[in-house]
Each structure stands twice: as C-alpha cells, then as structure tokens.
C-alpha cells in the first residue's frame, strides 16, 4: 500500500551532507542538516513515488494530480528573528491541510534559531547557510532543495508570515477550481495585524488579460501580474521552465522579479479565501523611504526594468511606480549625504548590474 511507504525513502541518504542544486555541478558550500523524517505525518495517500512515475510519461495526468493530493513543501527563509519564526512555524505545522515538507532556510542566524528549530520543530528540515545571502539567496537555495526532492508545490513564506490554519487548503482548492491550464502561482490575501490588506503585499491585478481575468473571477479568483514571497504557492514546473529567483538581488523585489518572470506568459491568481498575516512593525509599502534598505529597492527595481520580466507596456507602469518611490525618497533625504550617496550607488548598480 502506498500509505505504508516511509517518508524518509524519498530523502537523501543520511550520510549525504552536501546539498546539490538540481542544475549545478559544484556542491553548494553550506551545512545540510537532515532530520529523521521530513514531515510529522505520513504522505498523502496517493503515494509520492507513484506520482513521480506518472508525471514522466503523462503530462496531463501530472496536471490532474497536482491537486489537493500534490506534495507541498513550505519554504521559510529567516535571519535572527527567532520569536517570529517560532510563530510562523507553529502556524505552518497547524495547517488543516498538512504539509508534506517544511524547510527552514537559516541565513546564518546568530540568535539560536537553528537550535530552536531543531528542539521545537523536529519535523522541519533546516538548511543553514554559512553567510547571510538575503531573502533572494535563501529562496533560491530553498526552492532548489525542494525541487530536487520533487515536491509538486513550493509554498514560499517570509519568517514574519502567520498563515491562518486553512490558508494552504484554500490555496490548493483555488488551484483546483482555476481555469485550465493550471496556474503557475497562487497567492493569499496578505493582511496586517489590524486586518487591513498589507500595503507591501497588495495584489496587482492583471486587467489587460480580459479573458483570463473574467474566467478567473467566475471561479472566485483574481488574476494577478506578480506577487511577493509572503505566501506564494509556486508549481515546481515554474522552476523547470523559468528557473530560480535571482540570488544577486539579495533582498527586496526578488519576488516581484521572479513571479513577474513566471507570470509573463502564464497565469497566477490570488485566492481570497486564503489569508495570511504579515507581522511587520508598521504597515509600510514595498518601497519604504524610511528604510536603510532603500538601496536594494532602487537597484533591484532598475534591474527589473532592464530585464525581461515585464513587457514594454508594463515597464511603463512599473517605471512610474519606481520613479514615484525615487522622488519620495530624494525629497525626504536630499540633505542626508550618506543616504544620497547610497542612492546614487544604487542607481549606478541598477543601470550597470547583471539583469539575470
């Protein structure tokens, strides 16, 4: 019986201490901790091994099987936010539709995060990076890890995301009822502590695709152009076709670049029934002029504008948003030489840096 198959049969050999990205020859130089088993509960009854066998021969059958029974791995990237991470993981473990895998990517935390994960969440796998490579590096490696283990869906979350207990189930139900072809990305309503939509993660509806927009609405879904890694459910096929997030973005806008790249020619939806909370101190937007990290917003936004994630028309819209954020920043800080020099450096790096 498929149900009886032990979960660890799907995993690497226990002695294997080096994670290999699926398309890389060289080993990735970070520690690889493998818990005794990947998930606390047995696999879904259809049996993952059978599933993998079918997808090789019958693409249509593979699509049909990517439903509620598909294997889902949640990927949480964290750095020095142990308490928030604890709440996030507790919410993930408590999902009504249980996870098939849970990976914590630790960006070289120094606050005992690794110990906390090992002690309190033995079902979680831990991927420790030897240096802080930002959210982009964390999601890059986490997605490679999950794809190597042939999970069907990758649920990407920041460590300050607290999902409701039905968030994952609702996302998968959204995927099932979505118009064909099956969407590449699904995302949740992201709310702040006071229940308003978090401005950083407000959905960007794709109004120009009128047919898909109407068909999605008929199924209680909102067609989106891009989303953030605060609850994004991504099909593994997206990685096969479009690759991984760009590591050199480090933080901010790596999720926009990636999902916009994937969704340029495919569909993605917001599922209103799926709700998560983004537990930031303030409900600030994506381009927060008060933040010291504005360098990354400015640089990465320019890299996106030079890249291929958006069409020419979309670049005009996105460019307006970027220009507005630059204007607000310069107006707020034009007397601050340190910030202005960082901004100038960001513009230079954004105009000259690699887009892929």
């Amino acid at each position: 019986m498929a149900e009886d198959k032990p979960v660890h049969r799907l995993e690497l050999h226990p002695d294997e201490r080096v994670l290999r990205a699926p398309d890389l020859e060289a080993p990735v130089p970070h520690e690889w901790h493998r818990p005794e088993q990947l998930c606390a509960t047995p696999l879904a009854p259809d049996g993952a091994a059978d599933h993998r066998q079918q997808q090789t021969f019958d693409r249509g059958a593979h699509e049909r099987m990517l439903d509620l029974r598909g294997r889902v791995c949640a990927i949480v990237v964290t750095r020095n936010r142990r308490e928030l991470l604890r709440r996030c993981l507790a919410a993930l473990v408590g999902q009504k539709r249980q996870l098939d895998g849970l990976l914590v990517v630790d960006n070289a935390s120094e606050d005992g995060t690794a110990r906390m994960v090992g002690d309190e969440f033995p079902a979680a796998s831990l991927l420790r990076l030897t240096e802080n490579r930002g959210g982009a590096g964390g999601f890059h490696d986490g997605m490679a890890w999950a794809c190597a283990r042939e999970y069907d869906w990758l649920w990407l979350l920041d460590d300050d995301t607290i999902p409701r207990d039905d968030a994952l189930g609702a996302l998968l139900e959204g995927a099932m009822r979505a118009p064909k072809p099956m969407p590449m990305v699904l995302t949740s309503q992201v709310r702040w502590k006071d229940e308003r939509l978090h401005p950083m993660n407000a959905p960007v509806a794709r109004l120009r695709w009128r047919r898909e927009l109407a068909e999605g609405a008929a199924h209680r879904l909102l067609l989106i152009r891009y989303t953030t890694f605060v609850s994004a459910l991504v099909r593994r096929d997206a990685v096969d076709r479009f690759g991984l997030p760009l590591e050199h973005f480090f933080i901010w806008s790596d999720d926009v670049e990636y999902t916009a790249r994937v969704l340029r020619t495919t569909t993605g939806y917001l599922v209103p029934d799926s709700i998560v909370y983004h537990w930031t101190d303030r409900p600030h937007g994506a381009a927060d002029p008060a933040s010291d990290r504005f360098y990354f917003h400015a640089r990465n936004a320019l890299l996106i504008l030079r890249g291929t994630s958006f069409s020419a028309v979309e670049r005009v819209d996105f460019g307006r948003f970027v220009a507005r954020s630059f204007r607000v920043y310069v107006r707020s800080h034009w007397r601050d030489s340190r910030r202005m020099s960082a901004f100038a450096r960001a513009v230079w790096d954004g105009l000259t840096g690699p887009t892929r």
Partner: protein, 208 residues
Amino acid sequence: MKTGAIFVVAPTPPSDLSRQSVAVAKTYVGMGALSRAVAGGCEWVWLLGAAARPRADALGLLLEAAPEAGVTAGLAVDAGGRLLVEQLPKVTARAPEELVSLAARSLLPIRSTPFANVLVRRDCFDRHGMPDRRYGRWAPVAWSASVLCERVGYLVPASVVELEVEGSDRPGLHDCRAFARMLRTGAWTRGDAVGALIASGGRVRIER
C-alpha cells in the same frame, strides 16, 4: 429577491427566455426599443445582443449578484461556448481591498460595457438619457462609461448569454468621428483607443 418589472431590449428577438427563474414582463425588439421600454415604466432593463440565447438563470444571477449596482454585465459567448472578448466589459482598477472582496463574490468592477448582456436600473436612463447616436457603434460603451462615473457597476461572470457572431462587422472610416468623440470625451482611455484600432484588424473598411 423582490424586484420591479423587468423589460428585455434586444435588436432581434431573444430565445429561451422561459428558462429564466425571474419573470420578464415585456420584450422590446428593434429600432427605438430602448426608448419604448424606458417609457414603459419598468424598474430594470435587460439589454441583450442580436439573436441572444440566455443560459439558464442568466438574468437571476445579474439581479442577485450586486443589488447596489446600477449596471451589472454578464458574459457573452458564441454558439461554440467561446468567450466573445470584444463584448466583455472594461474592468476598472480599484483599491486592492475592494478588488479582493469583489473577487471573493465572483465580481469585478467595470467602467464601461457594450450591450451584450447588461442589466440596467431604469433610473440610470432617467438621469443620463439615452445612448448618444453620435458615438456610433460605441454609443453603449460611451453611455455606460458616463453612468459608471457616478454609479457602481460589476461584471458577473456567472451570467452567460449566447450570441450570434457578426463576423465582418469591423470599424470603418465612417466611424472616425465617433472614434474621435470617444477619445475626446474621455469615454475611452488611450489604451482603449489603441485596442479599438487593433480590433479593426488593420483592415479598415472604406465605404463610399
């Protein structure tokens, strides 16, 4: 849901109205049908395209979806069930919060719509008059854009009507004035105008 009288207005007689769960009081067809229907004292006017075959409960879904709306529009498909994109209402950008809550109700906010499958409150005609003929083929779009500046309107994708497709009906040079008027009065955005040009297929018909 309790409603006042509903009149149907269409260029040619619709079929299968008996499949609707909501009773239709009267049907007006042909030239001047809309004026006669509005003068007839109804509360709602259901505007349909040519040779329309409303699917089961298309009218009831429009009525119940959003009672607060002045205009609710459904989908139009051809005989093969393919969505007629040119008959789709234009969806408008709204605050994300509103978009999400509407999506949860299977609705989308609109800013204009052709008259393929549209339910309109009669008081919209009282306030905004009849569609202006000077807008030519785009008169319904211009009229609905004007109404929807003041009232809310929604796309209800669950309501579907089958239409007979008129294959060769493309904008021609004789539509230039109406085209310019649409652009000048703001009934269209520049994007809409580009879309209409593309819809002409680059093969603008010249008529003497």
